[in-house]
């Protein structure tokens, strides 16, 4: 996408009138173009004025203290330390993803060593032990096609901890792989997006997404994978992983 194309779409991007695919295309251009980012900033200022010009509605008096309390809780729960666990997790996760593919992760966790190589199982178990050592609680979801006539399968692994970042790992196999880019969203019961990203294709041919985040992912109850048109292709419900 060049600057002329990006600036043609910028007004729609700023008001939120673009499809998901076009949003991603514009954002990728903005990430590398300072001139267009300047144009975006000017348009954002103009559109923000609409919200600021609305007749004000007073929030409840206790909302401010509740927000301050929530920030204080978040600050106490996620210290900047535990870098060692995060570093271990990132390096190990990258190695596992490349070598095994995200589905191999799910299989390896269950110890089905006849399907993956032994050292990859050890990598996964090392990561799992490190996460559980800091109190990370595991959650799982199996992903199934959103429409009956479609094929594919996938899995979601979430580790939620109070002392280090939460992790989410999503892996899917899409035999009808004809509508990338694929995006994934993990949502809470009220539809708020807790984690979002674009799936990357691995050497094994499956699609993976991984994120380390300060967001509390234990609140996530559903995961959706969408194609470039924003249509759901895979969906799943998240549950605590007990005794797996």
């Amino acid at each position: 996408m060049n600057c002329a194309e990006a600036r043609d779409l910028l007004p729609d991007r700023v008001v939120g009138a673009l499809s998901l695919m076009d949003e991603r295309r514009v954002d990728r251009h903005l990430a590398r173009c300072t001139k267009c980012r300047g144009e975006q900033a000017a348009l954002e200022e103009a559109i923000a004025a609409i919200g600021l010009a609305l007749p004000p509605v007073d929030p409840p008096p206790n909302l401010g203290p509740r927000i301050a309390a929530r920030v204080a809780a978040a600050s106490a729960g996620k210290p900047a330390s535990s870098v060692r666990v995060r570093t271990l997790a990132a390096a190990t996760m990258a190695a596992v993803l490349v070598a095994v593919g995200a589905l191999g992760w799910a299989v390896a966790e269950r110890g089905q060593v006849d399907l993956v190589r032994r050292e990859q199982v050890q990598n996964v178990r090392q990561l799992t032990r490190a996460l559980e050592a800091v109190g990370a609680r595991p959650y799982r979801a199996d992903l199934l096609p959103a429409r009956q006539e479609k094929k594919g399968f996938g899995s979601v692994a979430i580790y939620s901890a109070t002392r280090v970042n939460d992790f989410i790992l999503v892996g899917v196999v899409l035999p009808d792989d004809n509508a990338p880019p694929y995006t994934v969203k993990a949502m809470d019961p009220k539809g708020r997006v807790l984690s979002r990203g674009t799936l990357s294709k691995t050497n094994n041919g499956d699609w993976v997404f991984y994120e380390s985040t300060q967001v509390n992912l234990s609140r996530a109850i559903s995961v959706s994978v969408m194609d470039r048109s924003g249509r759901a292709v895979m969906v799943g419900s998240i549950r605590p992983a007990m005794g797996e």
Binding site: N2, C3, A4, A6, R7, D8, L10, P11, D12, V14, V15, G16, A17, L18, S19, C33, K35, C36, R37, G38, E39, A41, A42, L43, E44, E45, A46, I47, A48, A49, I50, G51, L52, A53, L54, P55, P56, V57, D58, P59, P60, L63, G64, R66, I67, A68, R70, V71, A72, A74, S75, M187, K190, G191, R192, V193, Q214
Partner: protein, 181 residues
């Protein structure tokens, strides 16, 4: 802002005192209930506390940054709940005189916004409301109103450019330029 970047929780109290009502108001108008507006406001300020390090004062105002976060989160929620209760929509041509506030900067911003909005045509205001407050894409607007997609995009673009450079502020609308990069 330096305190926010440093993760100072007290900075959030200051930020909320100044912008909390504006964020809550936008949430209430877009999402339609006090409960949803409260949740959105909490999410916005928590997000601001986490992302404070990414705020670049050279790029724009703090109010713009916060309202952009608020609008993006509200649109996400609207699109997820599509088909739910309609929001309490205030069409942008129905803005009454805002009440006096102590913050001179906010008075100036609101007044500027009202004058810029007054320069839009009724069709432009209508489209802007649908996109900004309902979170509709250009295609959804075109299908709902039965007008060509190109017309929707042109009107939205024109409206945004008028807001950016209102004649009442001494500017004139500029068309986007730029070549390949």
């Amino acid at each position: 802002m330096r305190q926010l970047v440093a993760g100072d929780e007290g900075a959030i109290r200051t930020l909320y005192a100044r912008f909390g009502r504006s964020v809550y108001t936008l949430g209430f108008r877009m999402l339609g209930t006090a409960e949803a507006a409260e949740e959105l406001t909490q999410d916005v300020f928590l997000s601001a506390w986490r992302k404070g390090i990414h705020f670049d004062a050279a790029r724009g105002r703090l109010s713009t940054w916060l309202m952009t976060i608020a609008h993006n989160l509200a649109v996400d929620r609207l699109r997820h709940e599509r088909g739910g209760g309609r929001p309490i929509l205030i069409l942008v041509d129905q803005l009454p005189e805002p009440p006096p506030v102590d913050d001179d900067d906010m008075v100036v911003e609101r007044d500027r916004a009202r004058r810029a909005l007054a320069e839009l045509s009724p069709a432009e205001r209508h489209l802007l409301s649908q996109a900004y407050f309902y979170g509709w894409t250009a295609r959804e607007i075109a299908e709902t109103d039965g007008i060509p997609l190109g017309t929707v995009k042109t009107r939205l673009r024109t409206a945004l450019l008028k807001l950016r450079n209102p004649r009442s502020a001494g500017g004139r609308a500029q068309t986007p330029g730029g070549g390949a990069e």
